[in-house]
């Protein structure tokens, strides 16, 4: 029986081509993901292990601690005294203390080098021999004086800086000029990945990032013969009570490796989910192929039964065929997947994310997973067709080869489909009624709804496609009419083909509608809620501005109103609540704050403005007293002076005078500063602001349009990544359309021959096949879009409460493009089948019985 299966596979090479291709693509996606993430994992962990080489024990500070009352306690880091004590231990060879933070280097034009990703500054910490073992200098040496720095080689090269040059370095405060003392290379992961690193003299770095005399981290190396564990037990008591954690280097490396694994795990899960979708879509194609192969061989299989093969044997022969196809496809897929992983690495490299070099990791698990998935998917998809083979009666060997599908099974199918669909829609609606907690429920409902729709598709296909027939006939004449009729001749096959497209389109539409809706909401927020001309923030969106920034700007002529948005915290009733520190007189001119009761002027009197939702939840109203505890632990009594309509994303629920917050904190976290200028936004005005900030390359002065573009850009990028990942599923569904059409052409050889004989010319035969493909594709696309919009609406309602003025936006332009693409997909998919139909030899076609 197995030999029969093998022969059959070889005999139907061409017809199995699409199946092989579909499985291959899916398996390649899976194995590519696995190989890529494994490789990345290994090289990243290898690197992190390397950077802990020679570190026996590492002590990390958690920053300033707090007592039970929430008051800050102790020092912000590890003191020099502690460092000295550790150095004094017998087994210790060297100890170096480190601090680090943001440091941006400008090029000659004042632009940030390596913007966006990792711009760090740290201290150069020479040990006994006067050198810091972490850094290898290519030219010059480490900074020895306060006005000296060292730069990593890539950054120095990018800026065209040589030893002795003056370099402008921006931290979160004013820009300062340093002279370049040396250029180095390092194993530091962030630098290897393309980030910039500035090394300061330790004193300077401490001043910039922590507090003079304190470190964030100690790296201890052991003398020969001293074990790391012994050192750890000796060090622990010394650093106890400083809010620190002491670990051996090996432990730290392990921990980092675990972190890397977790981070990459997220990525690989996402990629695998998309691979899963692609494979799921592939199942439909495989199912169609095997159904057709079995139908065509009904006579042959019945003959096998007639000569004595039993049901199981016949079924197994079909499954064995699927197995062969699965194994072949899985192997090709695995090999292509490895190629894909190599490609992905160089692709990411071309985007500027330098990944550490390393050998490709092909884990045995990957090979097993690829093979198992390929074989399982193919065989499972063939189970139903195989089962049908078992039911072929031996007598069919004598009769006609084409047995019409029984009407009864469609009835059963329709009932089943309706029940599942209604159930699915019901569950989705239930999820909608649950609000924010209903997202998982909606997801489950969506799954059932999709399954139900797929089951119902044969029923739906007839009226839907019949409704476009008059139009097709009018536009394209006989080919149009025949195409519409042919599309529903085998409703099951059409349905399965359209279903695979519908799945992809459902996901694409849902994501697009949600993405655009969110984008529009954010857009409205920045247009309606923001009155400021500019927003000043740190480049890359991370880090805080120096406290000098608002003061400097306020003093600059031409600037009308300035207010920082300080990300502060208040402890109210034992719970931490976020609070925004603002400049009382100015904030009303910068943000469109809708005051519901009270007045914003009350901020100037040290009172608090509370967002409406919070006020309702906490039962606060104008005049309510508010017992708070500040960041330094001091308690205070405030009063609610105003209630305003929530401005999520712009202001925290509690708004308070910055001075009140600053009085209780050394270093205010200024996330952004809003600025209004005289005479409104203009190029010159923007330059005034930039100049006032000392042309700091690390700070961005964004116009309202910039802010909109930034959000829009992020949403578009996210959508484009999703489109790219769903592309694989769409490619497989296109293969499905090709497959179905090739089958149709093959089955209708005689008919096409007759049509040619009685006068349908080649180009119109091609048109007929093309239109059939377009009809099937559009049918799937329309269905997917309808379900997609519905699901987007459902998911949207669950988040609508957290977004002010939420309104579902259906991007008709994009949907139009999807439909157009579906049409193009149809035309492309029909290319090869249409060509072979047009080239049919009429005579042999007519003669076939």
């Amino acid at each position: 029986m197995f030999r029969t299966a093998l022969r059959n596979v070889l005999a139907h090479k061409a017809r199995l081509l699409m199946t092989v291709l579909a499985v291959t693509l899916g398996v390649a996606f899976v194995s590519g993901t696995l190989v890529f993430t494994d490789t990345l994992k290994k090289s990243l962990s290898g690197q992190s292990a390397k950077s802990y080489d020679g570190i026996a024990v590492s002590v990390t500070s958690y920053g300033q601690g707090r007592d039970e009352e929430g008051r800050p306690e102790g020092e912000p880091g590890i003191s020099q005294q502690t460092l000295d004590k550790v150095r004094g231990l017998g087994g210790v060879d060297t100890v170096s203390g480190r601090v680090q933070g943001f440091a941006g280097v400008g090029d000659e034009g004042g632009k940030l080098i390596g913007s966006g990703w990792s711009n760090k500054g740290s201290n150069y910490a020479p040990v006994k021999d006067g050198k810091d073992p972490r850094y290898a200098f290519t030219t010059g040496a480490g900074p020895a004086k306060g006005d000296e720095i060292a730069l990593d080689k890539a950054t120095a090269d990018a800026g065209g800086y040589a030893v002795g040059d003056k370099v402008r370095v921006a931290t979160n405060g004013p820009v300062k000029e340093y002279s370049l003392a040396g250029v180095f290379t390092t194993e530091d992961g962030a630098v290897q990945a393309g980030g910039s690193l500035v090394l300061f003299d330790t004193k300077v770095a401490q001043e910039l990032y922590l507090k003079p005399g304190f470190f964030q981290e100690l790296s201890v190396s052991a003398k020969a013969g001293t074990s790391a564990d012994r050192l750890l037990t000796e060090i622990k008591p010394l650093v106890d009570g400083e809010h620190t954690k002491a670990q051996t280097g090996a432990e730290l490396a392990r921990e980092q490796a675990k972190d890397i694994e977790r981070e990459l795990g997220g990525m690989s899960t996402m990629l695998l989910a998309f691979a899963g979708i692609a494979l799921f879509v592939g199942v439909f194609l495989i199912y169609n192929t095997f159904t057709m192969l079995v139908t065509q061989r009904t006579k042959e299989l019945a003959l096998l039964r007639a000569v004595g093969a039993n049901r199981g044997q016949v079924m197994r022969s079909v499954l064995a065929e699927a197995l062969v196809v699965g194994v072949v496809s899985a192997v090709i897929g695995l090999v292509s997947g490895i190629g894909l992983a190599v490609g992905m690495r160089s692709l990411m490299g071309s985007f500027g994310a330098k990944l550490p070099a390393g050998d490709l990791v092909i884990a045995p698990g990957t090979i097993v997973a690829a093979l198992v998935i390929g074989v399982l998917v193919t065989t499972l998809a063939a189970v139903l067709p195989a089962w049908r083979t078992g039911r072929i009666a031996p007598v069919a060997a004598m009769g006609s080869a084409h047995l019409p599908a029984s009407a009864k099974s469609l009835v059963l199918r329709n009932i089943l489909g309706s029940v599942i669909s209604v159930l699915g829609i019901g569950v989705v609606l239930l999820g909608v009624s649950m609000g924010g907690d209903g997202r998982m429920v909606i997801g489950a409902g969506a799954f059932f709804m999709l399954i139900g729709m797929i089951v119902l598709l044969p029923l739906l296909s007839k009226p839907v496609i019949a409704s476009v027939r008059p139009l097709l006939q009018k536009l394209f004449g006989v080919p149009g009419k025949l195409a519409a009729q042919n599309a529903v001749r085998n409703p099951r096959r059409t349905a399965v083909t359209a279903a695979s497209l519908a799945i992809g389109l459902t996901l694409v539409t849902t994501l697009s509608v949600l993405g655009i809706t969110m984008g529009k909401a954010v857009d409205r927020m920045s247009t309606d809620k923001l009155k400021a001309d500019y927003k000043v923030s740190m480049s890359g969106g991370s880090g805080y501005l120096d406290k000098s920034v608002p003061e400097t700007l306020a003093k600059t002529p031409g600037i009308k109103a300035v207010s920082p948005q300080i990300a502060g915290a208040l402890r109210i009733g034992g719970e931490f609540a976020s609070a925004s520190g603002v400049t009382p007189g100015a904030i009303g001119q910068l943000l469109n704050i809708e005051v519901l009761s009270g007045s914003l002027d009350s901020l100037g009197k040290g009172e608090v403005a509370v967002a409406e939702k919070t006020a309702t939840a906490q039962k606060l109203a104008v005049g309510s007293p508010l017992q708070v505890q500040y960041e330094d632990g001091e308690k205070g009594s405030l009063k609610v002076g105003a209630v305003y309509k929530d401005l999520e994303g712009l202001l925290s629920p509690y708004v308070i005078d910055e001075k009140v917050l600053n009085a209780h904190s050394d270093e205010p976290f200024i996330s952004e500063v809003y600025v209004n200028v005289d005479g409104g936004s203009s190029k010159a005005a923007q330059q005034t602001v930039v100049d006032a900030l000392g042309k700091n390359p690390a700070m961005t002065v964004a116009t309202r349009q910039d802010m909109r573009d930034e959000m829009g850009g992020m949403i578009n990028l996210a959508l484009n990544i999703m489109y790219g990942l769903l592309g694989m599923a769409l490619i497989i569904s296109v293969l499905g359309v090709v497959n179905t059409l090739a089958m149709s052409v093959f089955e209708r050889t005689q008919e096409i021959g007759m049509l040619r004989a009685i006068g349908l010319d080649r180009s119109r035969v091609k048109n007929m096949i093309r239109l059939e493909a377009v009809v099937i594709s559009l049918f799937g696309a329309v269905l997917g879009i309808v379900i997609g919009v519905f699901l987007a609406w459902a998911v949207g309602t669950t988040v609508s409460k957290t977004i002010p003025d939420y309104a579902l936006v259906v991007p008709f332009d994009r949907i139009g493009i999807f439909l157009l693409l579906a049409g193009v997909v149809g035309v492309l998919a029909a290319m090869w089948p249409a060509r072979s139909a047009a080239r049919l030899n009429m005579l042999t076609a007519i003669k076939t019985e």
């Binding site: 007759m754 049509l755 010319d761």
Partner: protein, 257 residues
């Protein structure tokens, strides 16, 4: 080798004509001559049957004359049109406008009703069928009450009657039938042949039919006999017995030679 000219001696107008027609497959040792220098006329308003044993080239002759197949040398004319110089598109148009076909396997489109199948060639051409003529044809083949049926709901004989009506409906200059009764029982076959003969006698249609059945050939006005790619004989006003005897003679000659 003697080549006989089977152009009739009458002055009747010619619907289709093959002159020195040859068709050769393959090259060198594997070369097969399907048609060898065939010259034959098919007269307007005449029912001609092409007979011959299998492999004699009778189907090939019909395919070449009907513009379904290409030929190696010689010429074929349908009316005034020389087929040899036509491109595929023009050939298709010629078949659509000037030729009707009836196939052994009926070849109806299962998605169309009987009426839609009948008007299909005109729909393809974008022409409106002549209502009166259409009614005449449908009445003749006796399908008036079956027009809304699909082919699967019709018997074999009825399906072939639809095919006959399809061939007649567009009033082609000539109708070619390729074993039109090959898949039918004798009664249905007789019906179909009767319709074809009536279309010639009453409507002035020209019909050329390939068959290996002497009874079918007896319905024709003239029978052309083919053997080994050449025309070997012809018979006017044939009877089934006469045709059978002639065939037996060829068969015997073939065996003794």
């Amino acid at each position: 080798m003697t080549t006989m000219n089977y152009a009739p001696h009458t002055t009747q107008a010619v619907a289709a004509r093959a002159t020195g027609l040859s068709k050769v497959y393959g090259q060198g040792e594997t070369q097969v001559v399907a048609l060898n220098d065939v010259t034959v006329n098919f007269n307007q308003g005449e029912f001609t049957a092409i007979m011959g044993p299998s492999g004699s080239g009778k189907s090939t002759l019909m395919h070449c004359v009907a513009g379904l197949d290409t030929f190696s040398s010689g010429s074929v004319r349908i009316g005034d049109t020389e087929l040899g110089s036509l491109k595929d598109k023009q050939l298709t148009q010629l078949r659509r406008d000037k030729i009707g076909f009836i196939f052994q396997a009926f070849n109806l489109l299962p998605t169309l009703t009987a009426l839609e199948n009948i008007t299909l060639p005109m729909d393809i051409a974008g022409r409106k069928p002549d209502k009166q003529w259409l009614d005449t044809v449908i009445a003749m083949v006796g399908l008036s009450d079956r027009l809304g049926h699909r082919p699967t709901q019709l018997s074999g004989g009825q399906q072939q009657r639809v095919a006959v009506a399809r061939a007649l409906a567009s009033r082609p200059e000539i109708i070619f039938g390729d074993e039109p009764t090959g898949n039918l029982d004798s009664r249905s076959g007789a019906e179909v042949l009767g319709f074809l003969r009536n279309s010639v006698r009453e409507l002035g249609q020209t019909v050329v039919m390939v068959t290996h059945d002497p009874v079918a050939a007896a319905y024709a006005d003239r029978v052309v006999f083919l053997a080994d790619g050449s025309i070997v004989d012809q018979m006017t006003a044939p009877t089934a017995d006469g045709v059978l005897d002639r065939m037996k003679a060829f068969d015997a000659k073939g065996r003794t030679s």
